[in-house]
Every structure is written in structure tokens, then in C-alpha cells.
């Protein structure tokens, strides 16, 4: 089935709705193992919907079809000195997947990266969507302007809904200027607790930190704490020096300004490359930054990587252990991002019964026969 337009998708879904055929929505296929196993009888690919339909650098807006490769969008933006604010991570290394990530997949899974701490998540930059709901009806929400409170914000609702409310066909973003330069402050050998305190101090400063991470095992096996600032050259050199002074009590630090190194080093962190070739399950845990070290403490067998100033913990754990019970008492949420599909515990569970009820109600409205990515969110 070669679906090239929104109309094609709508008619395909409409037929599936009539026959009750369960569909698996696929973009580039690089994040297919996220979420719970999906019941499906047929595959709906969005890659036929390809292309940037509008890009106005002066208005900081870009609109593209959902199947457009992320790389095409990033290249178009880079040519004008701009970028997606939320720095979407690449899951291919971590999940051992192949393919070409699409912008629709990024939105469906609300994929962000280290910049989320400052610039927000994918959902914060997303300003408009078009999608086909589970009956084959085309729906639009939001638009192409960055300030828009006209009616309900279904744009946010669609971000991260993993295809369970509809098939995205078009997405619009607010974009930002790409920085002239970057610098990273590096500290070595800190314990988790001390490192997170240092990150917190940096993030509570006026120096506009755009990335704040700590890894228990850096490339040479020792802990590394990393703080990133970005912007115009004069500003970056000023702020990174200020941060260095601010954090002297935490010990020695060095500053990396080589663009190749800062880029590769940060990619290693935010794509969680360190876990890529190690066996074990991988969990993504979202907590208050100060609770990050507590999470690691409760998981003595795990190797942890902290991003978002400590608020995002990536944990590499022994296979088939459900860490959610261990983490009870710490508020936040945990989902298994990589693990044995035969595992009895689901990758994702609803936060609580009240929320589960609302979510079920919404899915019943938008996807009444449950034919889209059935079961993926629990």
C-alpha cells in the first residue's frame, strides 16, 4: 500500500475502521520497540507523506508532512542558521534499530533531548498538527503561528500519544536560531549527589545553561559531569567562565570549546550511546532533579546516566526487573525503553486510575474501535 497523501491515509484508515482491521503506524521505523507490544494486522506507513511545505526563517516557523525525514528538516533549518529547539535524540544506537527517523515519529513519541531543560520538549515547540483519527476523519488543530489559544490545544495532546489518537499527517514547529558557538564545562570524579548539586547550582544561575548531565561512567570509565552553554561567542565565553568560578567548590573543571568534541560528547550523552552495546534493560525515569541520585541509590545494580540536571535518569538494569516497585515513594514516572518483549511487566503503565479513565475516554472518542497502535500505551 503506497499512501502518498493525507486523503490516501484517510481512506485507508476509514476502510480499516469499517472492517475493524488493527493498524500499526510506522514512520521511519527507528523507534518501533518503544511502548508496549502492539496488536496489529496491517502496517500503515507515513513515509509517502514527504516534504517541507512552508519554511519562513523570519517568522521562526516550519511546516512539514509527517513522513519527512528528520534529517531533511534539520538540514533545511541549518541552511538558514536555525534549528529545532528541543534537540530530538536518536534512538537507533540505543535500540539497535535502523532506518531514517521521520518528524512524525518524533512528534508521536514526543522525543526531546538534553535541551529540554531550557528550551522545552518537542510538545513545547509544536504549534500545529493535522491528523487522521481512528475513523478516517481528517482533523486539524493549532496552525503555523507560535501564539495561538484558539480552542483546545489538541496539538499537545497529539504529541506523545504514540498514534493512539490518530495518524499524524502534518506538523508545524516554532524554531530557534542555532547558536554561533557552544562550550562545555567538564568536571570529573563527582559522586551522583554532588554532581546533581553542581548541576542544580548551574541551572539556578543566570548563565542560561542549555544542557546539564552527569554520567557514572564516562568514556574512560570515571564519572563525568557536563554543563553546556550556547550562544554568541562573547556571551558563551563570559558565561562559561562565570560558571567555572561559581562551581569551584566542587573541584577542578575544564572547558571544552572544540565544536567537534562538544557535539560528539553531548551526542554520546543524550543518545545514551554508553548503553548501546551493553546488555540489560534500559529505563527512562523522570523525577525532580534532586531525586535523581535517590533513584540511582535505590537501583544499586544499575548503571545510571543523568540528563536534565538530574531530572531524567537513564538506568541500565539487569534484564526483566521491574524497577517501578523499587522506586515507589519517589514521585515521577518510569518507562522501560529497551527490554525483552516477552517480559511480563509492561513497558508503560498509567499513572493512576483517575488518569487512566480520562485517557481511555479520549481514546474511545478519537479511536473508537481501537484500531490504531492498539495497546501501545497500556
Amino acid at each position: 500500500m503506497n499512501l502518498k497523501t493525507e486523503t490516501d491515509i484517510a481512506s485507508y484508515v476509514s476502510d480499516a475502521y469499517a472492517s475493524g482491521c488493527k493498524l500499526r503506524i510506522v514512520g521511519g521505523g527507528t523507534r518501533q520497540s518503544l511502548g508496549n507490544p502492539c496488536e496489529s494486522e496491517a502496517v500503515l506507513s507515513t513515509t509517502g507523506l514527504n516534504g517541507i511545505s512552508l519554511y519562513e526563517p523570519g517568522a521562526l516557523t516550519i511546516v512539514a508532512a509527517s513522513g519527512t525525514p528528520l534529517a531533511d528538516i534539520e538540514a533545511a533549518l541549518a541552511a538558514e542558521g536555525q534549528r529545532l529547539p528541543f534537540e530530538p535524540m536518536d534512538h537507533r544506537g540505543l535500540l539497535g534499530s535502523s532506518g531514517t527517523p521521520t518528524i512524525g515519529g518524533v512528534v508521536a513519541c514526543n522525543i526531546s533531548g538534553s535541551a529540554r531543560i531550557q528550551a522545552g520538549a518537542c510538545r513545547d515547540s509544536l504549534i500545529g498538527v493535522r491528523f487522521v483519527d481512528g475513523t478516517g476523519t481528517v482533523i486539524k488543530n493549532g496552525g503555523r503561528v507560535m501564539k495561538n489559544v484558539t480552542g483546545y490545544d489538541l496539538v499537545k495532546l497529539m504529541a506523545g500519544s504514540m498514534g493512539t489518537l490518530g495518524v499524524l499527517t502534518e506538523v508545524a514547529f516554532k524554531v530557534l536560531p542555532a547558536p554561533e558557538t557552544k562550550a562545555v564545562l567538564l568536571m570529573e570524579g563527582l559522586t551522583d549527589a554532588t554532581a546533581i548539586q553542581a548541576l542544580s547550582k548551574a541551572l539556578s544561575s543566570p548563565y542560561e545553561v542549555s544542557g546539564a548531565a552527569h554520567v557514572q561512567k564516562g568514556l574512560d570509565g570515571d564519572p563525568v559531569t557536563m554543563i553546556r552553554v550556547e550562544g554568541f561567542e562573547k556571551s558563551v565565553s563570559y558565561r562559561i567562565e562565570k560558571l567555572r568560578k561559581l562551581l569551584t567548590s566542587f573541584g577542578e573543571s575544564s572547558i571544552e570549546i572544540d565544536p567537534v568534541h562538544t557535539k560528539a560528547g553531548w551526542k554520546w550523552v543524550h543518545d545514551v550511546e554508553g548503553f548501546a552495546n551493553q546488555t540489560g534493560d534500559v529505563w527512562k525515569i523522570s523525577v525532580k532533579p534532586a531525586d535523581g541520585p535517590k533513584v540511582a541509590q535505590k537501583l544499586p545494580e544499575a548503571e545510571c546516566l543523568f540528563d536534565w540536571g538530574g531530572g531524567l535518569v537513564w538506568a541500565l538494569t539487569p534484564e526483566s526487573t521491574d524497577i517501578r516497585k523499587t522506586l515507589q515513594g519517589i514521585s515521577g514516572f518510569a518507562e522501560r525503553v529497551r527490554g525483552n518483549t516477552q517480559n511480563t511487566s509492561p513497558a508503560r503503565v498509567a499513572q493512576n486510575a483517575a488518569i487512566a479513565k480520562i485517557e481511555h475516554g479520549l481514546r474511545t472518542k478519537f479511536n473508537p474501535k481501537g484500531i490504531l497502535n492498539a495497546g501501545i500505551m497500556g
Binding site: V145, F232, G361
Partner: protein
């Protein structure tokens, strides 16, 4: 303004409903005398008024829950109210409703600088959220013009913006979690002091839902460290087109000012009369503000001035002191007051793609002649959020209607060029009947489906946001 027929059955049971509410609230928190409920007859959209049947002022989430449970059982419509500063009539009552005001709930529940958040009751005013953390040099970023008075409850309901959201985002980008009471009284916690949650982004759809999905009683908000400094530069241009092109060039050059404010000539003249801010005689005035240390500010302003000069400004005035900065902002901040002094006005807030600015301003000028009503434009140019102020005389028969017709034509134009009806004020009743110019019935049905899930009986603020003809069937259930 067409509103649904009041439910006579509800009205006939007023005494009984009052009695039930009095059992769960302190005596002073249930207001039902005709003279007293009049205080709640309108919000900042004063052209429309309607006293509610009853007003209640609960003091806690538990009391809100008890009130909603009773109203749900009795089938009484509820209109939530923050501080009543909505310019869109978001808190306009119906005569059979209970106004649920959160003004008494204004406590700070928790401040956490290490994790950079504050948790407040939703009746707390926007400015006093910053007030609670500024001794530690932190602030809450969204800054609607009404921030002295407006409540976080209303900010969440309308997804409020402000002058500084080009850099910091609007309410939804700074909201981490809410405690919300559903219409049946159930209390739900959504989000929290952490960034990502499991499941669907319910927080995202609650923010901006205009009090139609639940009553938000507590909010967890992101707080930020204040920048080291900020400084504006004022520029005058001899046409709106040139000023618009300058805005676009600044953004394209990679500079992201914290605010870019635009005022056209009629606005500048009114402001000069009123605030004597010393603005230049120009067709268009821009105020561009940047933040950072002294060095960073100088560096950014140098870049901005270099761009501005290529557009031959008639004036380019960089602030050299706190006093000069205040003077530059004084005029902009006095704009609404200045207009209010010379006339009644209606303030629109449609958003347009920045590239369409010159065209839209020209067309508004033409409409102004056609309708014979003056209009002044003041707006957030960086994000295209316009604020045309249409002047009219409320005492002149027919003038309000003429003004509304003019306003509707402007908003339709905003949509036509790729923008939207409202950038930060919300739909309320004011833009309700224009919704079908931006969305088709199917798009609106999808939104109303969401309301069905949260509030199946359509009791919460039901006469807002959606044209009554579109929501008729759902409201009848």
C-alpha cells in the same frame, strides 16, 4: 450576545441549592442575594453582563470538590472565575449558574529553588508568584499585561502569554502540574515537579481549555533565575513595512530578544499625550529588549543596531540607564490606559505570521476608514500577536455593534493570512461565534469530544469557546 436559555428548573430550586452549598462552605463563602451576586456579573469584557444565580468562594481543594459534587448532582451550570480579568468574557456568568471564584485560595504551598519550581493555589495572582520568589532572584516568566490582578487559575485556563514569551514561552511552557477538580468532584493530580509524565499529555490540553474541563485549584510552575540585566532600545521608522522588515531581519540574524514590541502612529500619539514618554514622531516605533550581563547586552544591542541602521530608522535610542529604560517602557506599558482615557475601546489579539504584518496593518487602516472608527495598534511583533485597539463610544447607539463588526473583520483577516483568532486572551464568548472561520465543524467536534470526556453533562462554562449552534446537541444531554 446569545446565551443558552436559563434552566428554569435549576432557578426554581435556588433556595435548596444555596442550602446544600452552605453545608459545605463557610457562611460568608456562599453569596446569593441579588445585590451581592451583581459583583460577579461580568469580567473585563464589560460590554456583557449577567448576574449569576449564586457565587461561591471556596477556600480549599476539598471545598471546591464538595461544591462541584453538589452542582453536578443538581445539574447546575458552573462558571469558574479567577480574578475576573478576562478580556474575552471567559468568566461571564449565565443567570442559572454558580460562579466558582478561587480568589480566597491564594497561598504559596511550596517553593523549591534547587529543583526550580513553585506550587501555589490557583487564586494567587501572577505577579505575586514572582513576588514570592524574587527575594532569591527568581521569577515566573509569563507576564500578561494584567499580571498585577490576574490569577494563575485564569492564566492556566487561557494559556496566557505576555510581552516576554518570545524567549520564555507562554503558560503551557511553564506549567509543570496541576491539581484539578473534575465536575463530579473527583480530584486529579496531573503532572508534577518533574518534566515528563506517563501517558497522554493531559496537562497540555487542560491548559487553555478555558475552565471547561475542570477547576484547577493548585499549580506547579517553573521558576527561573533572573537575568543579570536587561536593556531596551527604541527605534522609530517611517513606515510599518520597514519596521516589520526590521523585526524579521533581527530574528533571521540569530538574535533572540526577550521582547519586540511594536506601536503604530495612532498608538504613539495617544501614548505621548498621556505618558509623555518622549517617543519620536514616526509611523512605527519598535522597542527591542535584550537580557544578560553588561557585555552580553552591549554585544546583542550592537548586532541589533547594525541591522536597524540598514532600515534607515528615523530614531534609534539605546537606554543608558535604569531611568532611560523605564522611560522607554513607560509609554508601551501605558498604551492601554492612554487609549482608555480618550475613548472606549475593544482590544483584539489575533496572531498573524510575522511576514504578513505590513499587509495586515494596511488592511486594518482601510477598514478603519470604512467603519469610521479609529484604531491603534500595539503588539508583540516577534511572535505576530497583534493587539489592535478599536476605539468606539459606548454611549452612542450602534457604535458597539459597529466596533464588533470591525473587530470580526480584522480577526477573519488574521485567519485568512495564516494566523488565528486569539493569541493569548482566549475565545470566551467574545470570539465564540467566529470559531468556524478558523476551524471546520469536524475540527470543533474533535475539541468538543474532549469536553465530553471530562465533563459529560456540559455543566462547566459550557456557553463559551464553541458556537452555541455547534454545541447544542451536546449541551442538551
Amino acid at each position: 450576545m446569545e446565551m443558552p436559555q436559563p434552566d428554569t428548573l435549576v432557578l426554581s430550586r435556588k433556595a435548596h441549592i444555596v442550602q446544600r452549598l452552605q453545608k459545605v462552605l463557610p457562611e460568608s463563602a456562599v453569596i446569593f442575594e441579588e445585590q451581592e451576586v451583581r459583583a460577579y456579573e461580568c469580567d473585563a469584557l464589560t460590554a456583557y453582563r449577567c448576574p449569576p444565580m449564586i457565587a461561591v468562594l471556596p477556600g480549599s481543594t476539598t471545598e471546591v470538590s464538595a461544591v462541584l459534587k453538589i452542582c453536578n448532582e443538581e445539574g447546575v451550570p458552573v462558571v469558574p472565575r479567577g480574578s475576573g480579568t478576562s478580556l474575552a468574557g471567559g468568566a461571564l456568568p449565565t443567570s442559572d449558574c454558580v460562579i466558582l471564584g478561587v480568589a480566597r485560595m491564594n497561598a504559596v504551598l511550596e517553593t523549591n529553588y534547587e529543583d526550580r519550581y513553585i506550587r501555589v493555589q490557583s487564586g494567587r495572582t501572577n505577579l505575586s508568584v514572582t513576588g514570592a520568589v524574587e527575594q532569591n532572584d527568581f521569577f515566573y516568566a509569563p507576564d500578561p499585561s494584567s499580571q498585577l490582578a490576574c490569577a494563575i487559575a485564569g492564566n492556566v485556563a487561557m494559556n496566557s502569554g505576555g510581552a516576554h514569551c518570545l524567549k520564555y514561552g507562554v503558560t503551557t511552557n511553564n506549567l509543570l502540574g496541576v491539581t484539578m477538580v473534575m465536575m463530579d468532584g473527583e480530584v486529579v493530580e496531573i503532572g508534577g515537579a518533574y518534566l515528563d509524565s506517563a501517558g497522554l499529555d493531559l496537562l497540555g490540553v487542560i491548559c487553555g481549555s478555558e475552565g471547561q474541563l475542570g477547576v484547577v485549584t493548585e499549580a506547579t510552575l517553573r521558576i527561573l533565575r533572573k537575568p543579570e540585566g536587561a536593556r531596551p532600545v527604541l527605534m522609530g521608522f517611517d513606515s510599518n513595512e520597514v519596521a516589520g522588515a526590521c523585526v524579521s531581519d533581527i530574528i533571521k540574524a540569530g538574535v533572540l530578544p526577550v521582547a519586540i514590541e511594536f506601536m503604530d502612529k495612532p498608538c504613539v500619539e495617544a501614548v505621548e499625550d498621556f505618558a509623555k514618554a518622549g517617543y519620536p514622531e514616526a509611523e512605527a516605533v519598535l522597542i527591542v529588549e535584550v537580557e544578560g550581563s553588561e557585555t552580553e547586552i552591549n554585544d546583542q544591542l550592537a548586532k541589533i543596531k547594525k541591522i536597524a541602521i540598514t532600515h534607515k530608522p528615523v530614531e534609534l535610542r539605546e537606554s543608558k540607564s535604569e531611568e532611560e529604560s523605564a522611560a522607554i517602557w513607560a509609554g508601551r506599558k501605558a498604551a492601554f490606559g492612554a487609549m482608555g482615557r480618550i475613548s472606549d475601546y475593544m482590544c483584539l489579539d489575533g496572531t498573524i505570521p510575522v511576514s504578513e504584518l505590513p499587509l495586515v496593518l494596511r488592511r486594518i487602516g482601510e477598514m478603519s476608514k470604512k467603519y469610521g472608527l479609529k484604531v491603534a495598534n500595539v503588539f508583540h511583533a516577534g511572535d505576530g500577536n497583534m493587539h489592535p485597539l478599536i476605539l468606539f463610544d459606548a454611549n452612542k447607539p450602534g457604535d458597539l455593534e459597529l466596533c464588533e463588526e470591525f473587530g470580526a473583520e480584522v480577526l477573519k483577516l488574521c485567519v485568512e493570512v495564516g494566523g488565528c483568532l486569539t493569541g493569548e486572551h482566549g475565545v470566551g464568548v467574545e470570539k465564540r461565534d467566529l470559531m468556524l472561520t478558523q476551524y471546520n465543524q469536524t475540527d470543533l467536534d474533535a475539541q468538543m469530544d474532549v469536553k465530553d470526556v471530562f465533563d459529560p453533562k456540559w455543566l462547566l462554562n459550557a456557553a463559551k469557546v464553541f458556537p452555541l449552534s455547534s454545541s447544542d446537541d451536546r449541551r442538551a444531554i
